[in-house]
Amino acid sequence: MVNMRLRVQGIEFAYNSVPVLKDVAFEAMEGEIIGILGPNGSGKTTLLRCMNRALSPSKGTVLVEEKEIGAMSRKEIANEMAVVPQNCIITFPFTSLEIVLMGRNPSMDRFKRETREDIEIVKTAMEATGVTALAARTMNQLSGGERQRVIIARALAQQPKIMLLDEPTLHLDVNHQMEIMELVSELARREKLTVIMVSHDLNLAARYCDKIILLDGGSVLAAGSVPEVLTQNNVEKVFKIKSLVQYDERIDAYSLTILGTVSGNGN
């Protein structure tokens, strides 16, 4: 029996009365990795921000474990859902350990200090993402990939059921992109974490996601498994490229090959 973790129902959102999301709906199960794909301006990041109530949709609801997110406090949401935002540039010299410890914030009372249990949770999270050795280093001393792993450790320290990632591989070297995606898929399998990630990278999404939601102009153009969604027609329509998705047995996953561009913007 696989549990439903997140249900997005008919979400609409507008910035300055310009609609950005139109009737977006989907569901996410336990242990599933869902990729939200779409070109720039298709509403990917807005959708992600509506999911953790950083933004409030004008219509529709988001249910976490069947609880409506609008009725939950920010702390309650943070106990169910962790976010790994796009970039992380910190002016002040916080160490990795301090950053990961912040993951315990939502479950701590205002004037309380971290308990031994909090430290244990943080230790486990840092081991899981391989950043234990970086604990004493400040965030500015780390590489982009290392910083991303620290932020993922912080998300894990929240002990969430759902993890939202906004372009987790952006600005990373290829080896670090792979490292982050391997880590995320391992977490999804081992911790039964539901992972929802916004991505620009069609190939990484095809390879690691169980389900794809393809956004175009703020609405869901297609949703489902990789071969169902990333069809030649859909990809051509949304990204203006010719492509082919194939199962590659060498990596036991789907892979997407870009065959060429579509000239003349023909719709």
Binding site: A78, M102, F111
Partner: protein, 352 residues
């Protein structure tokens, strides 16, 4: 670099915090004891101690008076004012994620200066006698905060960049108004201009017990408010999206920090005028020594801010005695080199 286990690192950090607080408390105590003996008349520590505990037999009345009515309230006032400006600096540097921020970036000091100048130059009053200038300064500090907040708000959100720009603009406006009033003052009665200038440079020479109690009454709730949200401020420093994913409401935190810092700055500046540099430098020095965690920065800055202003004010009133210098000159003259020394040393050590 050899890595220590997580538990050790965390325990070390806690130990460092405790040590820092103990050292600061001791330093505060020592600077208090030294500074209260110094002045136009030197009074030896033993006698000062006797006066402080009320054992005044055989001590000349004028010495008792100097300690009880002049030096003690002034030193205590320097302590609370230094504490106020420093915690405001911690709060504002935090929400603006910028080590350059201080109570003057959001225009609070300039607004207060305008209120004070209005009273000094045009005789505008909201309160009686000695309270006329402080009241006008405080009211205008609060008006400035409200203006900056309203101007910085964008569709219900409170982006820090807009807030910062609004603060700088409102501050510049009030600065210009103060200059205008100064020109008017120059043409008016003699002495008015000097009073404005003296107020703008900041001074503790009119400190008394009433002022001390009032500022303390603002400092305590202000500190509790800011300290209560110090962990939220930590999350805000990483970024607003990070903060909201950690269960922190960025808008509430920003509002609390703005309000809390305006409250303590307004109260302090109202009585002493604009004392520059304290709110910028003290949080910074503390951050360099004990790290960026606001849970320790707030209490440490209360102590360090008090020490810093007690010492600089003592220098201001003794170095050219009987002539007194505005303390703002000393805070910058003493603070800047020390700050630069720390900056250079730290940079060599950790490369950030």
């Amino acid at each position: 670099m050899e890595s220590k286990p997580i538990e050790r690192l965390h325990a070390d950090k806690r130990a460092k915090w405790t040590l820092a607080l103990l050292v600061l408390v001791a330093a505060l105590f020592i600077s208090f004891l030294i500074c209260i003996c110094l002045g136009t008349v030197y009074i030896p520590p033993g006698r000062v101690f006797d006066i402080l505990i009320g054992n005044t037999d055989g001590i000349p009345d004028y010495e008792v008076n100097i300690i009880q009515q002049v030096r003690l309230p002034r030193i205590l006032m320097a302590g609370v004012v230094g504490a106020c400006l420093s915690i405001a600096g911690v709060a504002l540097q935090g929400i603006f994620k910028n080590p350059m921020a201080s109570p003057s970036v959001i225009g609070i000091s300039q607004g207060a200066a305008f209120g004070a100048s209005l009273t000094i130059v045009l005789g505008f009053t909201l309160a009686e006698g000695d309270f006329a200038i402080p009241m006008a300064a405080f009211i205008f500090a609060m008006i400035t905060l409200f203006l900056v907040y309203m101007l910085g708000k964008v569709e219900g959100a409170l982006p820090t960049t807009t807030l910062l720009l609004a603060g700088i603009a409102v501050g510049a406006f009030f600065s210009a108004m103060v200059s205008l009033l100064q020109i008017l003052a120059a043409q008016g009665s003699t002495g008015t201009m000097e009073r404005v200038v003296f107020w703008l440079m900041g001074s503790l020479s009119f400190a008394n017990w009433t002022q001390f109690w009032i500022v303390l009454a603002f400092l305590i709730p202000g500190f509790i408010l800011l300290f209560a949200f110090s962990r939220d401020l930590n999350a805000m420093i990483v970024g607003e999206t990070h903060a909201s994913s950690l269960g922190v409401d960025p808008k509430t935190t920003t509002k609390i920090m703005l309000f809390g810092s305006a409250l303590v700055t307004g109260a302090a500046v109202a009585f002493t005028g604009v004392i520059a540099f304290v709110g910028l430098i003290v949080p910074h020095i503390m951050r360099m020594i004990i790290g960026p965690d606001n849970r320790i920065l707030f209490p440490a800055s209360v102590l360090a801010g008090a020490i810093f202003l007690i010492v600089t004010d003592t220098v201001a009133r003794t170095i050219m005695a009987p002539q007194e210098l505005p303390v703002g000159i000393i805070t910058a003259l003493m603070g800047a080199p020390f700050f630069l020394y720390l900056l250079r040393r730290k940079r060599e050590a950790t490369e950030w």
